[in-house]
């Protein structure tokens, strides 16, 4: 003990003359730091109502609720998070996992109210003083990556290798890869709103993630009897709305469906008792066309106990979606595995039958109901001068006649006109047959209706893309044909919608070639429907207009697939088939 020890504590008084450290509230405010975890805000226009915040909240402070003015649409559940500040602990896990990044915290932390019940509110919907606050805790997904993750990469054949043959381009997932990829699903169910057939996507992804592949296949067949085909060539609307796709990559739903189907040699065995004919109810239904729509209707009607007869012009089931799609995307031998299921379900197939007015009249008498799912038969006219030259051919016919088994085009020069999947299929098939291919399309590449993946892969395969080219005419030359076009510029469409291509100048560009395939679409051919029937049905541009249950308005006739107006893809056709089944069951009660 020293004498100074008695004195030194009094030196603390020196502080009395200095500035205080205390903040003199309320005269001086103390705003939260730039990253402060304060009150919630939600950009409701960006929010998709996936409910990820609700799931991660360990205090159950967040509820997904309906709000006025936000309706459920494709890719948006219409629900918005409601926060209970009696439970919230401001951990901000909800911010870091928010799939769109719409939810944030502000740096405001003071809220005085006489009514504690108001401390439960829906951010972004209920007006609050901090709604426009700029500062606060924001998602930084590039740092954490909790809101969206990259896709499990699948092995794809290199462009150099794949143009040599018709082997499948996509190799498929391994078991580990598939389970990992499926485990990325956050089970929000937005995909269901986008899938025309409303497949149970979250449920089968969960089944795959947990290794229950049989369950996954059974879930497919609940509302899609062609899962393997869809697993390879579906337009996958589901993936466009996937919550994981906003800040990462969407779940590979299509590839996972394909994966689950490929785990089994026979789908009929997997389904076993779940693909048996139902208790016969004595009613008979005819299905015209063995494409996706017809097969779907046939499968479920048969399961419900109807006697179902399917008629098709071709010698095998599967429809154009199976035959026109090239081997490298959809190998033809897969059809047998899928058709087995239909046979096991007791569907009776009548192949090689031309659909005529007489047959239709006969059906009307012999069956309780008829489902027309004939698809589109006729290639559209290109409406280009010179399209009657024999070297100008419809791409669709070329694809239908198994080009991989036909003659080679080595050294030939081919022009393909169009930007849809048929154009891509044709171009890529010709490359595989050894031809030099030029692809001409009126608008920009991003306007092409074909799948992005298809376009990308086609570009890799040495195809000469010429977007923004307006055809003028096709001429005959000594050795072949000459295709002439204007280069286009894009002008705004006065009616709205996509910009229109207009010739940039008068310069005529020319390409010499041996063959030209026109792939600008298909139109319907309904001549087989007797006029008396046509009068009773509602028709528009050669297509049959139906109600919500696919009913045509004529007797017990239903129609679906491409013969009715719609998206024109397989999954929509399948969905039509499902609706028709409901319609037929209701009508035949």
């Amino acid at each position: 003990m020293k004498f100074t020890d008695v004195i030194s504590p009094f030196l603390a008084w020196s502080r009395a003359a200095k500035k205080v450290d205390t903040i003199p509230y309320p005269n001086q405010q103390n705003p939260g730091a730039d990253r402060y975890r304060g009150f919630h805000i939600n950009d409701t226009s960006k929010c998709i109502g996936c409910g990820r915040c609700e799931v991660i909240c360990e205090n159950k402070a967040i509820d997904m609720v309906k709000v006025d003015g936000v309706e459920p649409t494709k890719g948006d559940s219409g629900l918005r998070p409601k926060v209970d500040y009696g439970r919230c602990c401001w951990c901000a896990l909800c911010i870091d996992v928010c799939s769109t990044g719409s939810l944030s915290l502000t740096n405001k932390y003071s809220w005085v109210t006489e009514n504690p019940d108001t401390c439960v509110y829906t951010p972004g919907v209920d007006q609050k003083a901090w709604d426009s606050e700029e500062k606060g805790f924001r998602q930084e997904n590039d740092v954490l990556g909790w809101a969206g993750s990259p896709r499990e990469q699948m092995e794809i054949e290199t462009p150099e290798k794949r143009i040599e043959n018709f082997d499948e381009v996509v190799k498929g997932y391994t078991v580990d890869q598939a389970m990992e990829e499926a485990a990325r699903c956050i089970q929000c169910g937005l995909c269901i709103s986008a899938c025309p057939a409303h497949m149970h996507i979250p449920d089968y992804l969960k089944a795959i993630a947990e290794g229950r592949f049989v369950d996954a296949v059974k879930l497919f067949y609940d509302n899609n009897p062609l899962p393997e085909m869809c697993g390879k060539v579906c337009t996958r609307e589901c993936e466009t709305v996937c919550a994981m796709g906003y800040q990462g990559e969407s779940i590979a739903i299509r590839w996972l469906k394909r994966f689950a189907c490929e785990q089994f040699e026979s789908l009929a065995d997997v389904l076993a008792l779940e693909a048996q004919p139902g208790e016969p109810n004595g009613k008979k239904v005819a299905v015209v066309g063995a494409g996706p729509s017809g097969l779907s209707a046939a499968y479920y009607l048969s399961r419900k106990g109807y006697e179902v007869h399917v008629y098709d012009r071709l010698e095998k089931g599967g429809g154009v979606s199976w035959y026109a799609i090239p081997e490298y995307r959809l190998p033809a031998d897969g059809i047998t595995k899928q058709m087995e299921v239909f046979e096991q379900t007791g569907v009776i197939f009548n192949y090689g039958r031309d659909i005529t007015a007489e047959l239709l009249a006969d059906m009307e008498n012999r069956f309780d109901a008829v489902y027309l799912a004939v698809g589109l038969q006729k290639p559209s006219d290109a409406r280009i001068k010179g399209e009657d030259i024999p070297e100008v051919k419809p791409a669709f016919d070329f694809l239908m006649n198994s080009p991989d088994k036909g003659e080679m085009l080595t050294g030939k020069k081919v022009i393909v006109i169009g930007g849809g999947n048929v154009a891509m299929d044709t171009a890529r098939t010709c490359v595989r047959l050894g031809a030099d291919v030029v692809l001409s399309y009126r608008r920009r590449v991003q306007d092409m209706p074909a799948d992005d993946e298809e376009i990308h892969e086609a570009m890799e395969e040495t195809i000469d893309f010429r977007p923004k080219t307006i055809p003028i005419r096709i001429e005959r030359t000594e050795s072949g044909i000459r295709y002439l076009y204007h280069e286009a510029k894009m002008v705004d469409n006065p009616k709205g919608g996509r910009p229109l291509p207009k010739p940039k100048d008068d310069v005529e560009h020319a390409v010499d070639a041996d063959i030209l395939f026109s792939a600008i679409g298909q139109t319907s051919d309904i001549e087989f429907i007797p006029e008396s029937m046509q009068k009773e049905m509602k028709l528009k541009w050669g297509r049959i207009i139906v109600n919500d249950n696919q009913y045509t308005g004529y007797k017990n006739f239903f129609a679906g697939g491409d013969i009715t107006p719609g998206e024109g893809d397989a999954i929509t056709a399948i969905a039509d088939g499902l609706r028709a089944v409901k319609g037929i069951i209701d009508r035949l009660k």
């Binding site: 997904m64 559940s77 089970q187 709103s193 409303h198 979250p202 609940d222 009607l301 399961r303 499902l578």
Partner: protein, 187 residues
């Protein structure tokens, strides 16, 4: 150091199972009958003079309690975990309170939380955290917290809430299919 400890333990307890080994960390699993011997040996001859923790894991599926003693060699900052399984029914584990003064408190807590008895602990049964607890010991896996709070404090009015996945399914008619798979909740 750890190699030597491992070797000596293995010589003495041939049935010992190695769980994890690092340069200053060893976790072994021994038979129930040798657990006390292993602990005493670790303390007296291997230099693990400090008891850090006694922990219990309720392995309900195997019908055993796994007791883990965490010992530490103070001079070398080395950890030794010794685990052993005891049957769940009327579980009795020997007390270490005669060897370490700290053991008593750990054992009192385990007695309350798991209902495991440590004969030889002079303060066994003395209240530690819980007073007058009559229910299943709360840290056992078969004690359901939610069920308990419902039973004791009554159910609360559930809040308005919609599950996006089910809600979307309802709106688009996901379950309105011909074969009619049922909605999750209705199953």
């Amino acid at each position: 150091m750890i190699d030597k400890v491992k070797k000596e333990l293995e010589i003495r307890f041939p049935l010992l199972k190695l769980v994890r080994e690092q340069h200053n960390y060893l976790h072994v699993k021994v038979e129930r009958v040798s657990a006390m011997d292993a602990i005493v040996m670790a303390k007296t001859t291997l230099g693990f003079t400090t008891l850090q923790l006694i922990s219990t894991i309720d392995r309900l599926e195997e019908d055993v309690f796994q007791i883990t003693w965490i010992l530490e060699n103070y001079d070398l900052c080395t950890i030794l975990l010794i685990s052993s399984n005891y049957p769940r029914e009327n579980c009795i584990v020997p007390s270490l309170s005669q060897i370490w003064p700290t053991a008593s408190a750990f054992e009192r807590e385990i007695f309350e939380m798991f209902g495991i008895s440590f004969p030889g602990n002079p303060r066994e049964g003395e209240d530690f955290l819980l007073e007058d607890w009559k229910d299943t010991p709360p840290m056992r896996r078969d004690f359901e917290t939610e069920e308990y709070s419902m039973r004791v404090y009554g159910e609360r009015q559930p809040r308005e809430h919609l599950d996006p996945r089910q809600y979307i399914g309802d709106i688009v008619g996901e379950w309105n299919t011909p074969m009619g798979r049922k909605r999750e909740e209705e199953k």
